[in-house]
Amino acid sequence: MIQYEKFTLSNGLQVLVHEDHTSPLAVLNVLYNVGSKDEDEARTGFAHLFEHLMFGGSVNIASFDEPLQKVGGENNAFTSPDLTNYYITLPSANLETAFWLESDRMLSLSFDPKVLEVQRQVVIEEFKQRYLNQPYGDTWLHMREMAYTTHPYRWPTIGKEIAHIEQATMDDVKNFFKRFYIPNNAILVVGGDVAVPQVKALAEKWFGTIPAGVPYRRALPAEPVQQTPRRKVVQAEVPLHAIVKAWHMPGKLSDDYYACDLLGDILGRGKSSRLYQALVQEQKLFSSASFFNMGSHDPGLMVFEGKLNKGVRLEEGEAAMMQALEKALQSLNQAELEKSKIQAESTLLFGEVELLERCMNLAFATNLGNTELINQEVAAIQAVQLEDLRRVASLYLKEECSNCLWYQSKQAEAAQASI
């Protein structure tokens, strides 16, 4: 059970307080309800680039990081397809510094042109470092584009291409700020060695005077039901062939979400999972095999990922994987459902050890529309029955709804050709 208190300021900012007096530390977490799915297809990567700009000074404060470091605080942020989240951890005695800094950048940024130019370069290097200069690093650029024809999950958070980041203008930055970075599109969580009345007073003082903006009404195009399987082959200088195959699944608020999640764990979480056992341990066709769910708000993907052993052809690998999948789905049993439930319980509990994670989870649940979801997850997992697994398997894991990427190793191809 995670305890919390919730209130809303008159400008629409939702505030949650989670007291935990174990250590003299506090967390201040701000979630903005904007992710890469809210971007324009011609200007992708912008939500994330914007996240970088949030550290480049605000209207009254030249530097965000330095004053925070001076009071013993640390901070960071991340952007996902669904949201952007900023967090600060600092000694609880200095909590007000976090309010001062975080509220000023919600009020307004400095919009310094140099910051935009520098961070544009930084993000381009990040794009290269994480996606282009890594073996298999561009897998999800290909996968998203294939699996989504319509919904903006079609592009990754980093952006579809570097050119979009190069083209971002200061006007884009200002418009984005005005549209999304408003109190009525944000959730503030304050946790740790703090008290509810103290947080109420500080929230009112620092955030209460920020004017509300025009409410953001999200209206994203739904992904149409896929009718025919899709495939793509890419070639790259990687040592091994890899296969990624994804099927559409419902979003986080759907009744079927946890059944899909547990089914994924049974199929491909860890060394005792069905696909790992069949493909890596027994048949020795793959050197890695996993199955997981992307965890998205909107309808997402269930994904198989595996790398093939030397000498195994891609078609052979995919056929074996599909056979192992079919076999597993035909023989799902109670024991493995129980195993997946206890693993899920364990993971949830480990995820609640850190104060910061508890605060973030409160923000995520609130952003989904119901903070109480955070305390309902265990029951939702326990409620899944064997027939639910069978039902979601036949409903979602259909060949016509699949998207398969063959990530072909040029080296392996050359070796096979010379045999």
């Binding site: 600092l90 370069q121 200069n133 073996p135 060394k271 206890i342 609640e352």
Partner: protein
């Protein structure tokens, strides 16, 4: 009414604080048990340390790594699949960490399941089967993973760096290569098992658990036929630090991974704390000079950091970054300039105050979970550091003078002692 946003709210400097220590027990069979009970979630981490250094000479590269990895690949009683299924069915997660100075087996478990999973570790240590078919599979997976790693400029740069500063034949200096796996035999790996079995065992338990859970763990641990040997440690002779620049060629790269640094003392050395301070200012945190210069001012990289790594017999200092190929030379120049500045001028009081407060805040923040408290203390136990080590650390953070910090850069970072590696073709 708007609050005064132009002025920072008043703040308190962080005072030194007590770091909770672990409870310690020596069990009848020689096992040293340390535990810390705290937190809100009823989960626990239990880590078993085998104090057996990696003795591998060139001929036996990979022996230690593979022997440790094989521990989860079946016992006389359970096949690999049965063992892994059992652990998973308890909601537990098993991790094996072969290391240079020591290796460890870690279990993450629901506290109520500790009593069920701890006996598996005993079986792993007493009757691992070293099955030939599982061995082939482990070798194959390890080899394939290494091949993928070798496509990463960051991996190539780090491997070349450690080889250069520690020497190719020192366990700290070599990185396993796919070809090493081709050479090694099951016999040789298996021959290392008795050495692991004879090792003295240190066990660290942390999390929120009941007295009954703890009693059950103790009861299970007492059944272990634990060894008492510490084994010889690795050699402490390393090449004399000297300047060199090496390019590790790898075509098709968009970026290069840079490494600049040298072999150094470890955490027990009297200069360790002042060096840590110097490192923090140079490249240890987001506000550091390297990060501000190369990222926040020039936009040359997504990130640049400097680090100190401490082993049993030595340590090293390294600056690392990934950078556009065309900017590699310029980045190396800027790194050199920042080091020279550190040597030439004492750090100003305002910068130093920020660093002191940041380091203390960040230290406090690194001790908020039972797992973190156990981890921090375990480094004191395993490295035989003084019991007031963290008090000494906090004292040093609060008091080390600008001159002392400058002296660290002068004494240890003369450019003629630094190794430069460029991972990836220019």
């Amino acid at each position: 009414m708007q609050p005064n946003r132009l002025e920072a709210p008043p703040f308190q400097a962080i005072q030194a604080f007590d770091v909770p220590f672990l409870k310690q027990e020596k069990l009848g069979n020689g096992i040293e048990l340390f535990y810390y009970n705290g937190g809100q979630s009823e989960v626990a981490k239990i880590e078993f340390f085998l104090l057996q250094a990696n003795q591998a000479s060139e001929r036996l590269r990979g022996q230690n790594t593979l022997a440790v990895k094989m521990l989860q690949e079946g016992t006389m009683r359970m096949s690999a699949s049965v063992l892994q299924e059992f652990i998973a069915a308890q909601g537990a997660f098993l991790e094996l960490n072969p290391g240079h100075d020591r290796s460890s087996i870690v279990l993450y478990s629901l506290s109520r399941k500790l009593r069920d999973v701890v006996p598996v570790v005993r079986e792993m240590l007493e009757s691992a089967s070293f099955n030939a078919s599982e061995f082939d599979n482990v070798c194959n997976i390890t080899r394939q993973n290494l091949k993928v790693s070798k496509e990463k400029t960051s991996f190539l740069a780090s491997a070349a760096f450690r080889e250069k500063i520690f020497g190719a034949n020192h366990p700290y200096g070599f990185t396993l290569a796919p070809e090493d796996i081709d050479q090694i035999t099951l016999e040789s790996v298996k021959s290392f098992y008795p050495t692991l079995q004879k090792s003295k065992l240190y066990v660290f338990l942390s999390g929120k658990f009941s007295t009954q859970d703890l009693d059950a763990v103790r009861f299970e641990l007492e059944k272990f036929s634990a060894g008492s040997e510490q084994g010889p440690s690795v050699s402490n002779s390393f090449p004399e630090p000297s300047f060199s620049r090496t390019v590790v060629e790898k075509s098709g790269n968009m970026q290069c991974s840079l490494r600049v640094g040298r072999v150094l003392f470890n955490a027990a050395h009297p200069d360790y704390f002042p060096f840590v301070m110097m490192n923090e200012i140079l490249g240890g945190y987001f506000g550091s000079r390297l990060m501000q210069n190369l990222r926040e001012d020039k936009g040359l990289t997504y990130g640049i950091n400097s680090n100190i790594v401490s082993y049993q017999k030595a340590g090293y200092f390294v600056i690392g970054t990934d950078i556009k190929k065309e900017d590699a030379e310029r980045a190396l120049d800027e790194i050199r300039k920042e080091i020279e500045l550190m040597q030439r001028e004492p750090v100003q009081s305002s910068e130093l105050e920020t660093v002191r407060n940041y380091m203390l805040g960040s230290f406090a923040n690194s001790l908020t979970t039972p797992f973190a408290i156990a981890d921090k203390n375990k480094s004191i136990v395993l490295n035989q550091l003084p019991l007031d080590y963290f008090q000494q650390y906090m004292h040093a953070v609060k008091t080390t003078s600008p001159e002392k910090i400058q002296e660290m850069a002068q004494r240890y970072l003369s450019y003629s002692s630094l190794t430069e590696i460029i991972g990836g073709s220019l």
